[in-house]
Amino acid sequence: MRVSNATLYSFLNRSFERANRDNLSALTKLSDLKNVRYVSDDPAAARTALALRNRSLRIDGYDRNTKQARADLESIEDALAQVHALLIEVRNHADLGALENAEVQASAVESLRESLVQLANTHQDDRYLFGGTEVLSPPFDATGTYSGDNVEATALVDEERSVGTTLDGERVFTGAGDLFAVLEDLAADLRALDDAAVVQHHADFSDYLDHVAGIRAEVGIRLQRLEEHETRLTAEQERIVERLANLEDATLEETLVELTASTTAYDALSAASGRIIGRSLLDYIG
């Protein structure tokens, strides 16, 4: 085939274009170590990466929700522990019976009852935790009357997973008997030196304690599950980061090899071009 000068120059032009494109590609890759910047770089990989990035973003949100839910439930757990301790203290007062210092005992029980009302109105960040979804106002008044509702507020901790972050106060404080009324009756029975009634109260406290312990266990399980969920989210996030790296990222070694290859090819092309272009029969015509 006859080779014209235009063909030769055109070929060299294309070869330098390709070499420069390869150099630019290697340099760009070196600047951010990315194989996939735009979808067109690798549509299949990019489609997966888009889904993974979205999931990663959502996991960040669910992780924050999980931490917030844990904080709420830990506050509830603390409050329930105090309720449990308070009930034990009340039971001790009932255990001593009305034998001596009845008035002192009765006053102590009344004071504990006030504390119980305060615990029942536990709040975090202006949010009442024992009012169900009525979280803006104290669920119990001084008489122990409940103004919350019987539905728990829930936090979304994953695509299809919610967890209760408040409790139905009515179930907690009146589920096994109206604790506020019980304490009020106990104080009255202590004052009235009604031994039989006080002894009966003492016996009933086992049920109350079991009830509160049961709810604590329920909250504890929720907390445990949230912890496990948090661990799962962290592990999934790590897996996503790894998969994204596999899909999108270029390794430094691979990129440097690419850069070396492209610059070597460029140098070879330049040297060859110089030799070819610099020669012509005209040089030998004297």
């Binding site: 014209s4 055109s10 910047r37 888009l50 669910y62 917030q68 839910a69 960040d125 539905v151």
Partner: protein
Amino acid sequence: MTLISGYYNLGLRALDAAQYGLSVAGDNIANVNTPGFSRRRLELSTGHPRYIKNGEIGSGVVVDSIRRMEDQYLQNAIQLEYGRLGYNNESLRGLREVERTLGPVESNPLLEAYGDFSNAFAALSGDSESVGLRTAAIAAADSLAGEFRSASGRLQELRRLEDQRITGIVDRVNSLAGELQELNDTIRTGESGGTEQSAARDRRDQVLTELHELTGGRAATSRSGEISFHLPNGPSLVTNDNVLSLTTSQASDGSLRISSNGTDITDDLRSGRLGGSLSVRDDEILTRLADLDAAAADLITRANAAHTSGTDLAGNPGGALFEPDPAPASGAAGSIRIATGIDVDTLALSATGAPGDGGIAETLSRLESTAAGALGTRSPRDFLADSFTELGSTIARRDVDERVAQDLVDSLSAERESRVGVSIDEEAIDLLKHQRAYEAAAKFIQVLNQVTEITVNLV
């Protein structure tokens, strides 16, 4: 007996032929880098012989012509391929601009804003009365609407830029069409006298190549050698004596339309650079805009349906979360905004009326991942990701098409060049050849001189 002057003429013709040869080689060398130049070749033949008793005596060389080398088949094939290359090249450029407008994989603004919107309402699902989280959710909703508007606006701007490119291409096509007709005239007039109009033919080939690249049209040669040019699907641009210039006008939607001889041919132009630019403007960008509009309309419809079924912190029923409500049939992405009156107090996130209930917030947070009939039973997340992937796949395919077309053009051009291109080495050999021929002819005349002198001295 041959007259000595006859031999002088023979020598003179030989000198002339060598000079023509040098001149042609010089012209070829001078045009080695001239685009579209086809090398010329000196066509020589033997002069008419003179017959003598026992044979014939040659009368030297005759310069028949200086022929322009051409290969019409290859030239036509290259021009056709230029149409394909122009289309792929132009549409690839436009598609890449669209892709860059929509954002990189690592941080796609729209998908990120939708994710932030979902996260903000997911956070409210468990703490729906929180003023801080409500403020953040309103900001996220506003940001999502803003990203829809921004993406839509950028695509609309790209359409306007494509219109400017199209105007430029149409102007160039008209200018080339006028030049083609003038070149047809020049060639017809010039060659009626029998002289090939090589320079005009070179230029005409270039004009035709560019017209093919710009429009992807077809050329046809008449018996008289004139070339007419037709746009894809029929309309003529240049006929024997006429140039039917393309005209542009603005449609009611503000987009540019192209007409030929009063007929709107915009939708028929889908090849060459013009077709590439039009396909980006009318097919690709409009498809992306339609997808954005569908996703935005779905957001407006479903978010508003959820929000209006909820109650705010004061127990009042919720209104629309986004405007315009209802979503328009088209243009939702360009007009979506958070509804007037939405603030931390009026955000209606409770499904039961209780302030701590975040049922509506939960619904809003799940919109992104919930399949919607209006989106082909895909979730907005998948719908948008699929739309971006579809665009990316088109670009990847077009990239391959462009490389194939470029390789084909290169290969055909190299083939054509092998026939008509200038080789400096070859011309150098020609220079030597004609130089030697000139020297020999001169020597011949010198010998004639000596012979003549001897003859004169005999007298």
